[in-house]
């Protein structure tokens, strides 16, 4: 069994995920096909981390767009939950045009409390955080 990954390297190389071993198949000429329980290897940890870093970057850019008043906070939280319009519409049980309207500041301002609550619950936040995301207090 492989040991857990060495954490003494540069922070960018430190793995974020090492608490559940997975089953990996392998091959070499001496042993043939192998099966091994181990943590995700270093290079896999890097590619996992990349998608989260990319999300963080997209969210930073979206914060500016929300602050500028061009879109509503729904656009930000939708991205944060890794959703796109069709999925968000499906989860909300609303048609896409209606959700697109909610994504505009004008549409968002007119949302009833019950609808705000539904969005907040889906985004796993409070209504207050939905109406005024923390990054708008900067």
């Amino acid at each position: 069994m492989k040991e857990s990954i060495d954490k003494s390297e540069h922070p960018d190389d430190v793995p974020g995920y090492c608490y559940n071993r997975e089953l990996f198949y392998g091959f070499d000429k001496e042993r043939g096909f192998t099966r091994e329980l181990s943590y995700q290897n270093q290079s896999n940890q890097v590619i996992i981390r990349q998608s989260w870093d990319a999300l963080e970057k997209r969210l930073e850019q979206l914060q500016e767009v929300v602050i500028s008043g061009k879109v509503s906070p729904i656009v930000y939280y939708m991205e944060k939950m890794l959703m796109e319009l069709p999925m968000l519409s499906a989860y909300m049980g609303l048609n896409r045009l209606r959700v697109r309207w909610h994504m505009t500041p004008a549409g968002f301002r007119r949302l009833k409390p019950s609808m705000l609550e539904r969005y907040a619950r889906l985004f796993e936040i409070t209504v207050e955080e939905l109406k005024k995301p923390g990054f708008m207090n900067k």
């Binding site: 190389d13 099966r35 590619i47």
Partner: protein, 333 residues
């Protein structure tokens, strides 16, 4: 309370692992690679127009559900498959089947699976797991990704069974119903191999199979020029995540397929298959090398370490290898 004597075993690929484990419950022994091979699970496609999380979709396996359906059908095993309109019906039916002493395979979305590693939290709706019991509102789960067995609440289970998005599960549940007394693996293996060979070299569409690997290679060379270094790195990362991260048992299922060919050589008593399995093993190592070197272009800091031309050449190499292997496999009798 219902808690069936179900053996939890980890697997490299959830659907193949669930199939193998469900059959094991009925004392029908079949390995995960054998399920995968008979189910003709190996595939390749690269679809730049279909984006997931802002990057093109690359797939190393066939449509979800096909491995279970094809493998059980090829083995003469009858199964039950249900989808539901609403969570209440889906959960009632689940309890009814569990009450009959039958462990149940479920297709679920992973985004709201409470026990799933947070690093994997994405809207992946093709995940498979088994529920083998319940105690009031708590369900006992065997998830082949996880080391231990786990538990999930009624509410969370209903939610993941009805996750939305591409390949939405719609409450899908499935389980074997009857297994013949005698099962002949030989014709099932041959059929499965022919199907995979056909998928990989017989489809006259440039984005699929070996052609698809070459297509990806050509596209990869243009990424930096067309989209800039950051997007090129992200697109590459997406290919590698599909290859290594989403439960492929490593190297985009190529290791597991090699293990299947190796096992098949004994069952069919055809030693040339062993040679092919070794070629597949080497091919898998090349895919692994590609992901290892490619990952060095996906780090947060520093410039890309490998040119995309170099990586694209590696893809051409594996395409050639797979073309050779599947051309030989297509002729199997």
């Amino acid at each position: 309370m219902v808690k069936l004597d179900y053996e939890h075993r980890q697997a490299g690929h959830c659907e193949s692992g669930v199939t193998s484990n469900l059959l094991n419950y009925y004392h029908f022994q079949i390995s995960e690679p054998m399920v995968f091979g008979i189910g003709a699970g190996l595939f390749f496609s690269h679809l730049p127009f279909l984006k997931m999380q802002h990057a093109p979709t690359t797939s190393f396996r066939v449509w979800p559900g096909m491995v279970f359906n094809r493998s059980t059908r090829a083995l003469g095993i009858t199964t039950s498959n249900h989808r539901f309109r609403n969570p209440k019906d889906a959960m009632n039916r689940l309890n009814e089947v569990l009450d009959q002493g039958i462990p149940v395979g479920l297709q679920v979305g992973t985004f709201n699976l409470p026990f799933f590693p947070p690093e994997y939290r994405m809207h992946y709706n093709m995940h498979n797991m088994v529920v083998y019991g319940y105690d009031k509102e708590t369900y006992f789960v065997s998830d082949t990704l996880m080391e231990p067995v786990v538990e999930i609440s009624y509410e969370d289970l209903a939610r993941v069974r009805f996750a939305k998005g591409p390949f939405a599960p719609q409450g899908k549940m499935y389980y074997p119903v009857s297994i013949p007394a005698q099962v002949d693996l030989k014709p099932a293996i041959i059929k499965g191999i022919r199907k995979t060979a056909s998928n990989m070299i017989g489809v006259p569409f440039p984005l699929i199979g070996v052609k698809g690997i070459r297509y990806l290679s050509a596209k990869m060379r243009q990424w930096e020029k067309k989209h800039g270094p950051d997007t090129a790195s992200y697109y590459l990362g997406q290919v590698l995540r599909m290859e290594e991260e989403v439960g492929t048992a490593g190297a985009g299922f190529r290791y597991i397929y090699g293990a299947f060919l190796n096992e098949s050589a004994d069952i069919l008593n055809q030693s040339w298959l062993r040679e092919i399995s070794l070629e597949m093993g080497e091919n898998a190592n090349k895919w692994r090398e590609f992901s290892y070197l490619g990952s060095r272009n996906c780090k947060k800091r520093g410039k890309p370490e490998q040119s995309y031309d170099f990586l694209a050449d590696m893809l051409l190499d594996v395409a050639d290898r797979e073309e050779k292997v599947f051309s030989k496999l297509a002729k199997i009798k």
